[in-house]
């Protein structure tokens, strides 16, 4: 059976780690990023030394100071956090396009298509992030997002340290339910204190109890949530890793069964590919400014040539026209061709005449735009998104740092 491999990555005590980079004297000390203890400030993030003392994120700062009177309190530098976060996400995207960033310091990667040992892949990501950004992170590996995320948390908490855990936890295929079974019910998405209480009263102690509970009874008591929780407790989660990044290019290529230099075969192939690329662009709602032609000769030498157009296109005829032009310029008409492909990049949304009758409050829209711009220029592009773009639609609990935003 086909299964996926999902990596969940979480930057360890992200804000604190960034602060330590700025000020190495903080290393190993209890400190917290957050609001002032005199007011209603809360802990956004706290160092592992502070956690050992019992300080938690979202705790009132006044309480944290009670626990640890010599707690170092930092205001936080969100611009810096945003920058670091972007660096990390960029490293992830260099590994695969299938990256779903779920908060400033967390992401899912679908690495199903990447061959090789997945733990080794996780380890190499961890060390690459360490060497390029000097930030520690923990990773969970599983066949779905739910288990991968929980794996990260379990991995982290299994390491007791005053500094960063740098955990990697794999849940092997088929072991999902067994892995979750001993964990407390609240670990699952969708179980808050109230639901947990209901389940406890029904006599359940941990996820394993929930997994074995008759699904019909759960559905009767809790409705659809009951059904969903039962699936989750059994380690089942089909949510895909959804990337909200727009694609960089749309392309088609084909390796011929037999190397060819027949003009009409090449032309027919280009025609077909131009149509496919055009259809792909239209389906995705893009136009692109650059037409690329990829050629691989019989000896495996591969060349890519491109033309940039002044106006973005999505129509088959123009794409084909330029692809043919590129072929003419770069092929002597004799050399055997092994592979040919067309791509369109420089993708953008097509221009569109806006309508007078759209019921939009332009004044409020302008104010919103201005506010968004301010937030983004301070904290980075990804820090705030429209509801429809928000990756957090699958009921993930907000992360500690997300709470503070």
């Amino acid at each position: 059976m086909d299964f996926r491999t999902i990596i969940h990555l979480d930057l360890d005590a992200f804000y604190c780690a960034v602060e330590e980079l700025q000020n190495s004297s903080l290393h190993g000390k209890p400190f917290a990023v957050g609001g002032r203890p005199e007011g209603r400030g809360v802990v956004s993030s706290c160092s592992y030394a502070a956690r050992r003392l019992g300080i938690r994120s979202a705790m009132p700062m006044a309480r944290a100071v009670q626990i640890c009177p010599n707690l170092i309190i930092l205001r936080g530098n969100h611009r810096e956090y945003g920058q670091k976060s972007r660096q990390v996400m960029e490293i992830l995207r260099q590994t695969t396009d299938l990256v779903e960033q779920i908060s400033i310091d967390e992401a899912f990667l679908d690495v199903s298509e990447i061959s090789g040992n997945k733990v080794a892949l996780a380890r190499s990501l961890q060390s690459r992030i360490k060497s390029e950004t000097n930030l520690p992170c923990s990773l969970g590996i599983a066949t779905n997002k739910l288990v991968a995320k929980i794996a990260t948390d379990v991995g982290k908490s299994s390491i007791q340290t005053d500094t960063f855990p740098n955990a990697i936890q794999e849940v092997p295929v088929g072991q999902e339910a067994a892995f979750l079974a001993p964990l407390p019910l609240e670990t699952l998405w969708g179980i808050g204190p109230k639901t947990a209480e209901t389940l406890h009263r029904m006599g359940m102690q941990n996820i394993g109890d929930l997994a074995l509970w008759p699904v019909t009874d759960l559905t009767k008591r809790l409705g659809k949530l009951g059904f969903d929780l039962h699936a989750r407790a059994n380690g089942i989660d089909h949510n895909p890793v959804t990337t909200h990044r727009d694609p960089k290019s749309i392309s088609q290529e084909v390796t011929f069964g037999k190397d060819t230099n027949h003009q009409h075969i090449l032309n027919r192939t280009l025609q077909h590919q131009a149509l496919q690329v055009s259809t792909g662009l239209k389906r995705a709602g893009f136009v692109g400014t650059t037409v690329k032609l990829k050629l691989r000769w019989a000896d495996f030498t591969t060349i890519t040539r491109q033309i940039t157009l002044p106006e973005p296109v999505d129509n088959e005829r123009t794409i084909l026209e330029y692809a043919q032009k590129l072929l003419k310029q770069n092929w002597n008409g004799k050399t055997l061709i092994r592979l040919i492909g067309i791509g369109v990049s420089g993708l953008q949304r097509p221009s569109q005449q806006l309508s007078l009758w759209d019921k939009v409050d332009y004044t409020r829209m302008a104010q919103l735009e201005a506010a968004l711009h301010q937030v983004r220029s301070r904290y980075g592009q990804d820090v705030i998104q429209r509801g429809a773009q928000s990756p957090n639609q699958h009921g993930l609990p907000p992360d500690e740092e997300e709470l503070s935003q």
Partner: protein, 377 residues
């Protein structure tokens, strides 16, 4: 019927009414022009049942009478006649119009005037009186913004309202709105509200004469028609039924950037951009940059085409507020700049995706709203 007219008067009259002729129709008489004696003048009328136009020309009338003459044949014939007198004589029995001028003798087969749709006789006492040149200016400033899309009939018309001595014309397609207000020299006793087909107003502007002439407009109750009447021309049009969208709420009430430019320089830059924009998306980008103590503000108008190339023109401007990059359909800009009529024009913008407001400087009576184009990317 027996009449004598001057060739040039007849040609002029036929030229005016011929635009209302319906040449291809199941009702043959609509391809004809009604020719009738009328209180010492000769009346020429044509109608396509939506718009009817009548023109009165001076004539020497020997015998009263009327008929309808095939418009195309009549106009082509009159066009070939020499200057001077044209004598027309109708043989009622055969409905044959005998036309004689100089050495030429012509017989035209006509259709009985009884078959011609009756034209309403307006009661002009309750009418609203416009100065012709004012009315033509108003029409010019709004009519181009009306839609040509028959799917939304209301938008193919111009909303005309009269209240006390204030007259308002408004037209909008989906993407722009033109509103012109003016004061009447003679106040109107009654309030009026009607949606008049843009085509009828275009015709009116064409035929309404010049200078200090006046046009009287009346809306005969219960007829669904509007009638415009000058001394010697009358235009009747069916009104468009339905309710015009509440345009006042589309007009932006605030702005973040106000750009004042020379109308002529802006128009020229837009025409230049249109040369390149017209091949593709019609997009002109306006990069509006406020000035500082050292240099004036500027509007850079740019357009590009896959095939023909690209163009950029910079127009000096007085700009208050934030810089903005906004894109418009350049034809919309050009069409409004063509009619602003003042040396300077203000463009008020809020954001790249919010409507732009164009006002002639020093003329509060006119405003124009254009929706921008959303740029890809």
């Amino acid at each position: 019927m027996k009449v004598s007219v001057l060739q040039e008067n007849l040609a002029h009259g036929l030229g005016i009414v011929s635009r209302a002729v319906a040449p291809r129709t199941t009702l043959p008489v609509l391809a004809n022009v009604l020719v009738a004696t009328d209180e010492g003048r000769l009346r020429l009328s044509a109608t396509n049942l939506e718009i009817g136009i009548t023109c009165w020309i001076g004539a020497k009338i020997s015998d009263e009478g009327s008929t309808t003459v095939p418009a195309r044949t009549f106009a082509d014939l009159v066009g070939t006649l020499p200057d001077g007198q044209v004598d027309m004589d109708l043989v009622v029995q055969t409905q044959t119009l005998h036309v004689r001028s100089g050495t030429s003798n012509t017989d035209i087969k006509c259709i009985d005037a009884q078959e011609f749709p009756p034209m309403p006789v307006p009661d002009l006492r309750d009418g609203v009186v416009f100065n012709v040149s004012d009315l033509r200016e108003m029409i010019k400033q709004v009519v181009f913004a009306a839609s040509s899309d028959e799917a939304r009939p209301v938008l193919t018309g111009v909303l005309l309202t009269v209240e006390d001595n204030l007259v308002t014309m408004a037209a909008a397609d989906g993407f722009r709105l033109s509103v012109r207000k003016a004061e009447l020299s003679q106040g109107s006793a009654q309030s009026m509200k009607a949606i008049i087909p843009a085509r009828a107003l275009n015709e009116l502007a064409r035929i309404a004469g010049d200078g200090d002439d006046t046009v009287t407009m009346s809306l005969p109750p219960g007829r669904g028609q509007v009638i415009f009447r000058t001394d010697d021309v009358e235009l009747t049009s069916q009104l468009i039924e339905g309710s015009f969208p509440d345009f006042e709420q589309i007009i932006p009430v605030m702005h973040n950037t106000r750009t004042v430019v020379s109308s002529a320089a802006f128009l020229k830059a837009c025409k230049q951009a249109e040369i390149f924009a017209r091949d593709g998306s019609h997009i002109a980008r306006l990069n509006i940059t406020p000035g500082d103590e050292l240099q004036p503000g500027s509007v850079e108008i740019s357009a590009q085409s896959e095939e023909t190339g690209s163009s950029e023109a910079v127009v000096e401007a007085t700009i208050e507020g934030q810089p903005v990059l906004i894109a418009f359909n350049v034809r919309y800009l050009r069409e409004v700049l063509d009619v602003v009529g003042t040396p300077n024009v203000a463009l008020e913008t809020t954001a790249a995706a919010a409507p732009g407001l164009i006002r002639p400087m020093g003329d509060d009576g006119f405003l124009h709203v254009i929706m921008p184009m959303h740029l890809g990317g």
